[in-house]
Symmetry: C2
Subunit: 237 residues, 2 copies
């Protein structure tokens, strides 16, 4: 069997057609039977591709009527995908710079060791960054990772200053899921200085644990963003 499943190919083909505007929001896509004969596969295989598209809200199915490109596709999947970890992902056309405040190996505080499941004596790597959008400081990101899993991270230059890209591309680590807590806080003196705002100003405060697989934490991080950079979440019934 070919290395990539057929339904994956069908899925990608349709996603491409949406991205390149061959299929536009509201358009009907070929019926399941039609796609099956086009690709020379059985209908169940086509359905597998369409199910995947539906889960991601790329298409909407209407029984008796057809399958349609979702109206809102392209917007509104900001935070539900792990991809959103890349700070840049939501700011595609923006000019993003990064100021690395600290990067190195440390004995982690106990709160960090707990979240990462580290035993006493095991080191962690801390990466502390300020993200700058269009010349203005926008967010502070403070990440901790188990040293044993990514030893090289203590010295290496981050690809594009992106921890996400460095982990996936350089360290070959597959990020799987994350739990993120979102709150608000008043800027401390240091945060205020880094973000060029007044101490006490409200900030979006996030805490995140990212997992490699169902239960192995790979990153524990805190973030503080200026309110002009809100998070967007899509909720489903």
């Amino acid at each position: 069997m070919s290395p990539i499943p057929i339904y994956e190919k069908i899925y990608n083909d349709i996603l491409d057609k949406i991205a390149t505007k061959v299929l536009e929001p509201g358009d009907r896509i070929p019926s399941e039977t039609e796609l099956a004969s086009q690709y020379g596969v059985s209908r169940m295989t086509v359905r597998q591709a369409l199910d995947q598209l539906r889960t991601q809200h790329a298409v909407v199915k209407r029984r008796g009527s057809g399958t349609f490109v979702a109206l809102s596709y392209g917007r509104s999947r900001r935070l539900n995908k792990l991809q959103a970890f890349r700070f840049e992902a939501d700011l595609e056309n923006a000019n993003v710079r990064t100021d690395i405040k600290f990067q190195g190996r440390l004995d982690p505080p106990s709160a960090v060791a707990d979240r990462l499941g580290l035993k006493p004596g095991q080191d962690a790597i801390r990466v502390q960054r300020v993200r700058i959008v269009e010349g203005r400081p926008a967010a502070i990101q403070d990440s901790w990772l188990p040293c044993s899993m990514v030893p090289q991270l203590a010295q290496v230059d981050l690809i594009d200053s992106s921890l996400y890209r460095t982990l996936t591309e350089l360290c070959r680590i597959r990020l799987s899921w994350a739990e993120q807590e979102i709150s608000a806080s008043a800027a401390t003196a240091e945060q205020a200085e880094w973000l060029m705002i007044k101490p006490g100003s409200p900030l979006i405060a996030t805490t995140r644990i990212t997992y490699q697989d169902s239960a192995t934490p790979i990153e524990y991080s805190h973030g503080w963003s200026r309110p002009e950079f809100p998070l967007i979440v899509r909720l489903d019934a």
Copy 2:
């Protein structure tokens, strides 16, 4: 064919077994082949049930090894489900009271009319509430709804003070999905008074549009919560 699909029954059966601790986190559930013969159905039907469970993170599949009850099931699906709209949903054992500050029919400001897709002259209903948890004010919720869709809402008593329950149970409206923007803000004088905090204190600020179906808005709302009541989001690869 029976009114409810077979895979739905299998799905519910397994979910029940998890809820009643017959199956505990980490346990292996019967193999697909085994379930197929137990229920007297084909394997594809069983897979449909299991896929549904996996999408909801109730189970984890491991190729060559089996299907297992997820370790974290029960926690961590807080904000991803529309059900989370019920303010109480995340505070199950907490004592929640509600102070209704305003409930009635109004000519909506243009920002509200825009989001709800109202034409000039069409009224809206505003419901402004303060949620009180364990005797302490926790959040302000300010909702706007199209009067034409829920005219009775102007006078009726909210079921349990829950807009979510009133809409679904009394108005028979099926909420479908929502887009929520999360930011932070400093408490105004009025907000500070209602929440019994100091003016200028940081608050979690949310803006939400809830839809009845793929594109019909039914609610536009703002919320301000004290930071002690963070939101939790699960992100997937």
